[in-house]
């Protein structure tokens, strides 16, 4: 039977099968030994190490810790603030690193559950703190200039760049979730850095100078998700 005698559907099926065979052959021939991407714990350790060294260098060189930081950590609600931010930061960093490789829908839910719960806890805690601070001492002179905005950006730029660099070697099936988790992680660690360096404890100050810079970065960077975080 010649091609002219065959029904059009059969001809199409044959052509498609031939295309798949040719593609299989091409992929097989172009295969080369590949360097496997690091496991999630290894990537996490690498990222934490880079971020810690960078932040420590910043603290040593230009932005010192606040006076009596250990006293504040032991005696005020600052320790709780830092603790929930740390759990949120580590959880979301782990989620971001996990999402750099193909992840199924049910696994996505498991991976992002902890960071999302921690975001809810953090928001409730921050709102509570803002109400208490405002009732106790009113609004402070929040419009006075504080360098926290600039500091916040300096603290997070390298950790975020390191995450984006690690993501370049991955192939995500959820680039927007990956970006969102990276932003939460960046926000959490930036928040901790500012809480440990800034002398001003008032919640409204924290909202304007510690929270808004990260919201701004997040909103702008959302436009570049596909460029920042490689999808499959």
């Amino acid at each position: 039977m010649t091609e002219n005698d065959m029904p059009q559907d059969d001809i199409d099926i044959n052509k498609r099968s031939a295309r798949l065979d040719a593609l299989s052959e091409h992929l097989t021939q172009s295969l080369e030994p590949q360097k496997r991407i690091f496991s999630v714990p290894k990537r996490m350790a690498l990222w934490l190490a880079v971020s810690f060294v960078y932040i420590a260098a910043i603290v040593l060189v230009g932005i010192p810790l606040r006076n009596n930081v250990f006293h504040y950590l032991l005696n005020t609600s600052l320790s709780f603030d830092v603790l929930i931010s740390f759990i949120m930061g580590c959880g979301s960093a782990y989620a971001a690193l996990r999402l750099m490789v193909p992840v199924s829908g049910p696994e996505l839910k498991r991976v992002v559950a902890l960071p999302l719960v921690m975001v809810a806890v953090f928001l409730m805690w921050t709102i509570y703190r803002t109400v208490i601070d405002t009732l106790e001492s009113g609004f402070l002179e929040i419009l006075n200039h504080y360098p926290c905005f600039d500091w916040g950006i300096i603290f997070v730029v390298i950790p975020l760049a390191a995450l984006a660099y690690l993501a370049k070697r991955g192939a995500s099936t959820h680039p927007y979730w990956l970006h969102f988790m990276a932003l939460i992680s960046m926000f959490s660690f930036g928040w901790i850095c500012l809480r440990l360096t800034c002398q001003q404890d008032h919640a409204s100050h924290a909202f304007i100078y510690h929270f808004l810079p990260f919201l701004l970065i997040g909103a702008v960077s959302a436009l570049f998700t596909r460029q920042l975080f490689k999808s499959i």
Binding site: L20, L23, S24, L27, E32, P33, Q34, R36, V101, I232
Partner: protein
């Protein structure tokens, strides 16, 4: 012959790990086994069965690029199925986003998109009625209606072709549609 499915899929983990170290024979075997699996997963999930092979192609290319991200301690089947679903969603998004369907006449669209098992013969009389009703509309509004509703031109484009304002085009199309409804009642 009974095939032990779990052993069969376990073997994919081994083949994928071998492929990562550059074993072309293992990779060829893996692809050979993956194609029918992917087709089976997609079968019944698509409006057009012929899309399946396009999606399988996309999946193979993505899998090839993403191979370094596969962790041999995990299930290869789950990993590759995730890629397959991602490619399927991406493919369907592109298909539905494309405006190619807007530029076809209604009859062409029906002809092209009808599944092979669907017959449109019963509706032929209705199309003839519509054609007759259209012929009863004066030339100029009919031409505007055909350009806008059947050939897929936007109101702006029709306005440019007919040298009239966009709002006049919209009014004309609306009136013609209303008139056709009355005729076809």
């Amino acid at each position: 012959m009974v095939i032990d499915k779990s052993a069969f899929y376990q073997n994919w983990n081994v083949l994928a790990a071998q492929a990562q170290s550059g074993d072309k024979r293992a990779y060829q075997q893996l692809i050979k086994e993956l194609i029918p699996y992917a087709r089976a997963v997609l079968s019944g999930a698509l409006a057009h069965p012929e899309w399946a092979d396009d999606i399988v192609q996309d999946m193979l290319i993505s899998m090839h690029k993403a191979l370094p991200t596969y962790d041999s301690a995990r299930s290869f089947k789950a990993w590759v199925t995730t890629i397959l679903h991602y490619r399927k969603a991406d493919f369907l998004r592109k298909v539905y986003a494309s405006k190619s369907q807007d530029n076809q006449s209604f009859e062409d669209m029906v002809e092209k998109n009808a599944a092979p098992h669907v017959t449109i013969g019963d509706h032929h009389a209705e199309y003839t009625d519509i054609e007759k009703a259209l012929l009863s509309i004066p030339d100029r509004p009919r031409a505007i209606f055909v350009l806008s509703r059947l050939e897929g031109y936007s109101a702006k484009e029709v306005a440019k072709i007919k040298n009239m304002s966009v709002s006049a085009v919209k009014v004309s199309v609306h009136r013609t549609a209303k008139r056709l409804k009355e005729i076809l009642k």
